[in-house]
Amino acid sequence: MSALTEPGVPGRVGESDSPLRRFLADFFESRVATAAFAVLLGIVFIALFAPWISPTNPYDLATVDILDNRLPPGSEGFTGQIFWLGTDGAGRDVLSAIFYGLRTSLAVGVMSGVIAMFIGSSIGLVAAYFGGRTDTLIMRVVDVQLSFPAILVALVLLALLGKGVDKIIIALVAVQWAYYARTVRASALVERSKEYVEAAACLALGHRRILFRHVLPNCLPPLIVVVTVQTAHAISLEATLSFLGIGLPITEPSLGLLIANGFEYMLSQKYWISIYPGIALLVTIVTINLVGDQLRDVLNPRLQR
């Protein structure tokens, strides 16, 4: 026996109670999600303002002293500054490197996520709305795409394209658009059969207007969830590729590259060079996923009235 919901019981609520406001109220109900969201905001802040808040610029050769190399956390450097998280093999401040690394990692993750979302959801929308052969063709391509491991496709693409931020974004978009296409198609199929879409057709509104003004906004909830989860996925994928040395160039190190740089020192007790960037990566991905989980709960159509 399931819970019973009597229509009319909830009672009608305040004046201009927009869907957005309801959504925000629901989202911040969970303390874990609120905390995760706050941490994520902090991470985004650090990433955005890394050049201004980092203690040093780790890539400015003038400020880096090779004599400071591999200092443990909390040590005082040659010029008197304190390295709270120690330094790496080249004498760079690990804390500053993490700040800059976050900037690169997040930028790559968000950029590829957003681009993949636009491409993927447009394709999914078209597939759902027109159906038939268009739909079959698109969805078979999606199936093929999803049947290859993402890391493998990315590896092959990067081997062909070479290194660089733009290249890795292309690779990430190529492995991720299909998730968006599938998600949007599924919810667009549900929405398309609803009476309000029939009503829009009856009002002789154009295909494009129906698609983008009526169907797409109602597909947003699952899409938002996929965007968060896939952005986290993109960040970790990029870290993996960079760790393997085929992602970003050494001049623009992301968290993955920092971990790789410190890896050779792990066995010689210089744990901090790898571990702290690793923790930063972990915290970033976990908070995004926590936010994504709460979004999933809040936007779940079964809980919506």
């Binding site: 026996m1 399931s2 819970a3 019973l4 009597e6 229509p7 009319g8 019981v9 909830p10 009672g11 009608r12 609520v13």
Partner: protein, 327 residues
């Protein structure tokens, strides 16, 4: 078993939902009784608390809802305060429920046979063969052709009407004393609805099963029920024998409801209509809940009217009933 005790007697039942926004008094002082072989129609619009009443009797109200007061006597036994074990031994056995959506009862991944045999075995000490025979009989009773073959089918292999019949057959399995039916024919077509009503009626007449038929549809109740209780905003506003209530309604709400049925109006002319809409039950203001829509509302209606008997055999919650119209 007590012979003169009614099958079910409910007194002053209160079921409230404690939501974040406040208390919703979904059922607020409801009382009625059903004799054996009698059909009680519980009529109300959405949000009137009629379904919650049914769930409350079965002890199936989930949080944030809770039965906060009242007495429920089933065959003379107080079950309002019975423990869960006792309720489980009654549910699906002595008391059965039929829902609007038969899939509330049916498990989509199990064969009908499995579900029906389990239901029998849960309450009776018989072997599987006997349980299966009972299941087959029950399917036959509700007019399902070739019950032996249909036992092996899955719920999705039945049409909507047939599925509802299977749900009714499951309700019948253990020969219950009371069946609570919550809008069981609302989703069905006219000819299929007539078939279901036919089965319900037969059951009641032949086996003496008492029945509570919860619906929003007065016309269904008219042909089926012996007596009727009309609910509005969590309270029973008028109750009495079916003919009396439908022919001479005394409460302004009942009168309005009956008056707005199309067949009671001149063809093509505007229908009699009750103005406004049903009130939200959240933090409902005290007093008669109908007064804002009532053509006879008076200052007295700011108080909550208690049940009175303005005409013999009729219980009405109203300060200004249409009594002169009833004589």
């Amino acid at each position: 078993m007590g012979t003169d005790a009614p099958a079910l007697k409910v007194e002053n039942l209160e079921t409230h939902f404690f939501t974040k926004a406040g208390v919703v008094k979904a059922v607020d002082g409801v009382g009625f009784s059903v004799e054996r072989a009698q059909i009680l129609g519980l009529v109300g619009e959405s949000g009137s608390g009629k379904s919650v009443t049914g769930f409350s009797i079965l002890g199936l109200v989930d949080p944030p809802g809770r039965v906060v007061g009242g007495r429920i006597e089933f065959m003379g036994e107080d079950i309002a305060n019975a423990d869960e074990a006792r309720m489980q031994s009654l549910r699906g056995n002595r008391i059965a429920m039929i829902f609007q959506d038969p899939m509330m009862t049916l498990n989509p991944v199990l064969r009908i046979e499995t579900q029906m045999v389990e239901t029998v075995l849960a309450h009776r000490k018989v072997d599987r063969a006997a349980a299966r025979a009972r299941a087959r009989d029950a399917l036959g009773q509700v007019g399902i052709p070739s019950p032996d073959e249909r036992l092996a089918a899955y719920p999705h292999q039945f049409s909507g009407g047939m599925r509802q019949r299977v749900a009714i057959a499951i309700a019948l399995l253990n020969d219950p004393d009371l069946i609570i039916a919550d809008e069981p024919t609302t989703a069905l077509d006219v000819t299929i609805q007539a078939q279901i009503l036919h089965e319900a009626q037969k059951l009641c007449r032949e086996r003496g099963t008492a029945m509570i038929w919860i619906t929003h549809d007065l016309t269904v109740i008219a042909g089926l029920a012996d007596k009727v209780s009309v609910m509005y905003a969590g309270r029973i506003v008028e109750a009495g024998a079916i003919d009396d209530v439908l022919d001479h309604p005394v409460h302004p709400y009942t009168k309005g409801l009956i008056g707005s049925v199309p067949s009671r109006n001149k063809r093509g002319a505007p229908l009699y209509q009750i103005p406004g809409m049903t009130p939200a039950l959240l933090n409902l203001a005290p007093g008669c809940a109908f007064r804002e829509r009532c053509p006879r509302a008076a200052p007295a209606c700011l108080e909550q009217p208690a049940p009175s008997e303005p005409v013999p055999g009729r219980s009405v919650r109203c300060f200004r009933p249409y009594v002169e119209a009833a004589s």
